[in-house]
């Protein structure tokens, strides 16, 4: 049952992770002083906590997340957005960068619009509050959206954004990665298609070591040697 390689181990719900000295972190639970896995994922120990990095699962909004959402409904003082999570997320008129009169929401955003948003608050009953008031948050026009599993988002971004800047450097596409697994891509149609195939590759090979290198060679195959350097 131990698939130990470099201290990383695939665990299944119910697997015993450790006793007493380690605290239960994300994706785990404690029972009778022992820590067990609650998720299918990869075991990870950090600063006294045992965490499970999930390999699948739905996106659950958390405050501070940047997400890409689609307007699905409109009220007199709010819009309802679909952010790829189990919970519908309202965007109140106070949280948009414009002054919107009561009942005048349709003039600003309509059903089907794609927005770049930030999760402002999530309460204990998972009621979500979104905002569009921060710098850089806006309506997205043009481009395409691809969806990947939200657990693969950190891999698409790479350490300190290394992966994403690599992709941008080669494809010259404009790119936004939402924490909810939605990626907006705009640029020349061929570049967009290349970007999509790269992202799909990252999603498939998310667990492979040296991913950045293999993505780089994939991009070099498409575009020739790196334009910078």
């Amino acid at each position: 049952m131990v698939e130990k390689s470099a201290g990383r181990e695939l665990v299944v719900p119910g697997d015993l992770l450790g006793t007493a000295d380690l605290k239960p972190g994300m994706g785990t639970f404690a029972e009778d002083g022992k820590v067990y896995a609650a998720l299918l994922g990869i075991k990870n120990e950090r600063s006294g906590y045992i965490n499970i990095v999930p390999l699948s699962g739905r996106y659950i909004p958390r405050p501070g997340d940047s997400v890409i959402g689609m307007v699905t409904d409109r009220g007199p003082s709010h819009w309802l957005l679909e952010i790829n999570s189990p919970y519908p997320a309202p965007l109140h008129v106070n949280e948009v960068p414009w002054r919107v009169d009561y009942g005048d929401t349709a003039r600003y955003l309509d059903i089907g619009d794609i927005l770049l948003l930030k999760v402002l608050l999530v309460d204990e009953t998972k009621r979500v509050v979104l905002t569009m008031k921060e710098h850089g948050l806006r309506k997205l026009t043009g481009g395409q959206i691809v969806e990947i599993s939200h657990s693969k988002v950190p891999r698409v971004i790479g350490r300190k954004g290394s992966m994403i800047s690599l992709i941008k450097e080669f494809t010259r596409c404009r790119l936004f990665v939402g924490q909810n697994g939605r990626i907006w891509i705009d640029g020349d149609i061929d570049d967009v298609h290349n970007t999509i195939s790269v992202i799909k590759r990252i999603e498939e090979e998310a667990q492979v070591i040296g991913l950045t290198e293999s993505v780089k060679s994939m991009l070099e195959e498409m575009y020739g040697p790196s334009p910078v350097e």
Binding site: M1, E3, S5, A6, R8, L10, V12, P13, G14, G25, M26, G27, F29, E31, Y36, A38, L39, L40, G41, I42, R46, S47, Y49, V53, L55, S56, G57, R58, I60, G64, S66, P86, Y87, W98, R107, Y108, L109, T125, K126, G136, R138, T141, S151, P154, I157, R159, K160, G161, S165, K168, R174, F176, V177, Q179, E205, Q207, V208, I209, G210, L211
Partner: protein, 283 residues
């Protein structure tokens, strides 16, 4: 006088050659469907079962939502071609009952409080039936739920025991189920040993019940290993591919913060974004 059917030979071997305490061959594969959040395919003797899980997702109809926890809803369905006489499609008394007991068994292990107002929907499709489909369906569904990334205390495992030809048997086959004296499906949470499903059809003495229950539970522990192996195989492909699994994702040296943030924040990603012309809303 009807011809007598003998389910066991003089050496206590069964019609399919198994010993009294032997399981049928079991094969599980996780993650077989792309559209569902999680899935599993299971073959257990002549049973072929497909399980798919969606969720947690917004529960519908709205009035069924529980403000404090998730619902675990299950639909067990037998395909029209799953049995030798065509089964009339659609829910019937039997499948409604199985759906209910299976969803309760699965609901017992899910951390339902983590997802208020949602539902986890489990679909079990029996493609081919040969006795013990509820056990097969429940076993497959547990794997599909883990594959879907739903937080659970443990997997759920199920197996049946029973009695035929006056002998206690493990994992009844089709003839043993139809012509036998008793059938006892059991589902457990292997880590704690809790029983989450226990039904009985037929007659057993209290002693026989106890023996059968014990042998079914022992078998469950064996099947549990097959379930875990199926889940590991699903991801072992990706983990082994490049030698070792991926390097740990370093969360930008902000050490000693409790385990709330695992992934790098997306903010810094947007930084190198080219200047974007302001969009045209709010004319």
């Amino acid at each position: 006088m009807e011809p007598e059917v003998r389910l066991l030979d003089e050496n206590k071997r069964r019609l399919d050659g198994r010993a009294v305490d032997e399981l049928r061959p079991i094969k599980i594969e996780a993650g077989v469907l792309n559209r569902a959040d999680g899935s599993a395919y299971l073959e257990w003797g002549g049973n072929k079962v497909l399980a798919a899980v969606y969720g947690p997702r917004e529960a519908h109809p709205r009035h069924r939502q529980d403000p404090a926890r998730a619902l675990v809803q299950c639909r067990y369905n037998m395909a029209a071609f799953s049995v030798s006489d065509r089964k009339r499609p659609g829910p019937d008394r039997r499948s409604v009952e199985i759906s209910k007991v299976v969803s309760e068994a699965l609901g017992h292990v899910v951390f339902k409080e983590q997802f208020p107002r949602t539902s986890v929907d489990v679909f079990i499709e029996v493609l081919q039936a040969e006795a013990g489909t509820r056990c097969a369906g429940l076993t497959a569904a547990a794997v599909a739920m883990a594959d879907a990334g739903i937080p659970m205390r443990d997997l759920v495992v199920s197996c049946a025991a029973g009695k035929a030809d006056g002998t206690l048997l493990l994992d009844l086959g089709k003839e043993e189920d139809n012509l036998g004296e008793a059938d006892l499906p059991v589902a457990i949470v292997p880590r704690t040993g809790e029983i989450v499903l226990l039904q009985m059809d037929g007659h057993l003495t209290p002693e026989e019940l106890e023996t059968s229950l014990k042998s079914a539970i022992d078998a469950c522990h064996k099947i549990y290993e097959i379930q875990k192996d199926a889940l590991r195989r699903r991801y072992a492909v990706t983990t082994e591919h490049g030698g070792a699994p991926p390097p740990p994702k370093e969360p930008e040296t902000e050490a000693d913060t409790p385990p709330t943030t695992e992934e790098p924040k997306p903010e810094e990603v947007e930084a190198p974004e080219p200047v974007v012309p302001e969009t045209q809303e709010g004319e």
